[in-house]
Amino acid sequence: MNTTTTTTHYPAMTTAEPIETRTLCVLVDNEPGVLARVIGLFAGRGYNIDSLTVSETEHEKHLSRITIVTRGTAMVLEQIKNQLDRLVPVHRVVDLSSGGPAIARELAMVKVRGTGDHRMEALRLADAFRARVIDATTEHFVFEITGASDKIESFINLMLPVGLVEVSRTGVVAIARGPEGM
């Protein structure tokens, strides 16, 4: 009890656990406000969202599937799953990263402007990355590229010097490997 006032500092968190990245699939009732509940939970409790995608996947059952890429310590990630599970319209939460790497893909549209050599270079790179041209004039291309996030990231980086204008990305969608459903 005789410690001085200023020398002792307590760590904000008790453990220096490593930060992991996880991909969660959340099956929810497609009802008004459900996305706000999920996003509000992340914002309110200070969790990270690296990527979030949502769409109705089972029309008759009014079910939507949300794919969330998030980061945190093992304890925080467990909390995120449990907190999501607690929301009334949430049916299931599955951590796709738990059973080995899941299949995760993103789609991006990349607009590039340029003429002459730059234009040729953009086309060559697009070919190497298996990006398709979905819009073109003599001054520009719009490429469509699908793949893992890091592949899209490197494609965008390569497009920078050849005249990148803008990018639109879907965010990650993911599914587990193997014959079983979630």
């Binding site: 009890m1 006032t5 008790t14 453990t15 509940r37 304890m75 909390q79 599970d85 607690r86 009334v88």
Partner: protein, 585 residues
């Protein structure tokens, strides 16, 4: 079945759910429901004076009965005023269904008069909420709201009903099944985990039960099973603020409350134990203190119905998800079945150690013949009311902690306090709800003079409905807990914690047509408390106490259980709190 209006459906659903009282305040967007209320006598409406009071009253009703509390407020300010109460109910897991009026469907989003985004505002402070956009959905939604509020870990549910839906006609029915298939609270614990819990408990040398509000929420049966298990094992038991009464305070196995203002023996037992059995408690920061020094040597078993309560703050060794009553029943059965025996010899040593901690008499204070010590006031209140059928509510602050320390609860649901949110102003309206539910019982709000002024207007409600609640004001003229922290942590700079212009509480009581008593001397305390009990109307008891008294024991912020301070250690408190500790509340 004949058609009825949405407003009539609300009344029908309330009646079908067995609602006796609904606490509310009328306004433009709920007029059709008020009209329907007027034309029936199944559900009695209690007119509060502020919507926050409506929710707290419903909480008091719910917590003292185990039933769902019902609230009815209008759109806009009616809904926003209810937000504090809803958040309070969420934090303390109180089942509430709050019906809010909304502007007509076609005006939603138009910034109409008294419009607010009620579902948006209440989304993070409710267990669930609904905006009803079709009268056909209304019967289902109303009943599901009650189902969700009361099942699993209870909580508040808001049903926002636009005015045109209240007028619209449709068929009413009482559904038996609910469409949220994702919502299925797990009641039974895993059998193999329960078996492991028995093994861990039987092998324990220094065990302790650490129980919380979840046991009380689970119901009377859970409390009885807990008592049986504690008796059977001979283990010591401590409870959180919310858990008081689940185990009788008069029992020798009871260590008193734990946590920031818990007893020396409870906190040391938690720190030194080798097996901790947490039942319906959530390892809140008021309980754990410094996390990395929290009960460092123990294996922890955690029984809770809410999986998100497990491994949130403290990593446990054996989580058991399930309802306390179910799990305790299975645990008892498994204990008998396995023929497990507690380690008698080890327990003897453990109890001897606990005896040494108890001998510290950590709740001791220096009494006075000149001035009323707040602890003494609550002790006398306890002595003079303990043989009666008494319910206690509190506000928030020093008086609340003293009430928890010095008013001893033998039974569950007798203690209504705002634990999680710490809402000043909770006690008075809460006691209104408690008194309605228990008209012949003695209902006392142990209050602070600062807290009680936040919801004082509900005295008017108490008088209107002849509810003889007793507001026992521990009046030290300060926001006592704020003053205590300023004294201990901020160099005695009492920034705005002194109330310059307090009302005359006796005259205030009289202005409300209630009874006022002032007590300034320890010698007259007993007689005046008796007078308070005898008067058959609402009473404000202005108990003028020592303004400088601090609440001990205390674990300073950022400190561990074994670093708690006792009353005599006051002068050393400043040294005990680190710079980082001051950052914590």
């Amino acid at each position: 079945m004949s058609e009825m209006t949405g407003a009539e459906m609300v009344i029908a659903a309330l009646a079908d759910q067995g609602v006796e009282y609904i606490f509310g305040y009328p306004g433009g967007a709920v007029l059709p429901i008020y009209d329907a209320l007027f034309q029936q006598n199944k559900v009695q409406h209690i007119l509060v004076r502020h919507e926050q009071g409506a929710v707290h009253a419903a909480e008091g009703y719910a917590r003292s009965t185990g039933k769902v509390g019902a609230v009815l407020v209008t759109s806009g300010p009616g809904a926003t005023n209810a937000v504090t109460g809803l958040t309070d109910a969420l934090c303390d897991s109180v089942p509430i269904v709050a019906i809010t009026g909304q502007v007509p469907t076609h005006l939603i989003g138009n910034d109409a008069f008294q419009e607010c985004d009620t579902v948006g505002i209440t989304r993070p402070c409710t267990k669930y909420n609904y905006l009803v956009k079709s009268v056909a959905d209304l019967p289902h939604v109303l009943h599901e709201a009650f189902h969700i509020a009361a099942s699993g870990r209870p909580g508040p549910v808001v049903v926002d009903i636009p005015k045109d839906i209240q007028f619209a006609k449709g068929r009413y029915f009482k559904p038996t099944e609910f469409h949220h298939r994702g919502y299925r609270p797990k009641l039974k614990g895993d059998a193999d985990k329960i078996k492991r819990a028995v093994e861990m408990m039987a092998a324990a040398k220094r065990p302790v039960f650490y129980t919380g509000g979840g046991v009380i929420n689970s119901g009377r049966r859970a409390c009885d099973l807990l008592r049986e298990l504690v008796k059977l094992t001979g283990f010591p038991i401590t409870s959180t603020l919310m858990g008081l009464g689940a185990f009788p305070a008069a029992d020798p196995q009871w260590l008193g409350m734990l946590g920031m203002h818990g007893t020396w023996e409870a906190n040391w037992a938690m720190h030194d134990c080798d097996v901790m059995i947490a039942v319906g408690s959530r390892f809140d920061d008021r309980i754990t203190g410094r996390l990395d020094a929290f009960s460092p040597g123990s294996k922890k078993i955690h029984i809770d119905i809410d999986p998100s309560s497990i491994n949130k703050n403290v990593k446990v060794d054996l989580p058991i998800v399930g309802d306390c009553a179910h799990v305790l029943e299975d645990l008892l059965q498994a204990w008998h079945h396995s023929g497990a025996k507690p380690d008698k010899k080890a327990l003897e040593t453990w109890w001897a150690q606990i005896g040494k901690w108890r001998a510290k008499k950590s709740l001791a204070y220096r009494n006075s013949n000149e001035i009323i010590k707040p602890q003494y006031a609550i002790q006398r209140l306890y002595e003079l009311t303990k043989d009666r059928d008494t319910y206690i509510t509190t506000e928030v602050g020093q008086h609340q902690m003293w009430a928890a320390q010095f008013y001893h609860f033998q039974e569950p649901t007798r203690w209504m306090t705002s634990g999680g949110l710490g809402t000043m102003g909770y006690g008075l309206p809460s006691s209104v709800g408690v008194q309605l539910a228990h008209p012949d019982s003695l209902v006392i709000d142990i209050a602070g003079e600062a807290s009680v002024l936040m919801t004082m207007q509900e005295m008017s409600t108490a008088v209107q409905y002849d509810l003889p609640i007793k507001i026992f004001v521990i009046n030290n003229q300060y926001m006592g807990m704020v003053r205590q922290w300023q004294e201990l942590l901020h160099g005695g700079r009492y920034s705005h914690s002194y109330t310059e212009a307090l009302p005359d509480f006796v005259k205030l009581a009289e202005a409300y047509h209630a009874h006022g008593i002032r007590c300034e001397h320890p010698g007259e305390l007993d007689d005046k408390i008796r007078e308070m009990i005898e008067v058959n109307k609402p009473v404000i008891f202005d108990c003028v106490v020592d303004p400088a008294e601090n609440c001990f024991p205390m674990i300073p912020s950022g400190r561990a259980h074994n670093e708690m301070l006792l009353g005599d250690a006051t002068t050393r408190v400043e040294d005990a709190v680190t710079e980082k500790g001051k950052m914590l509340v």
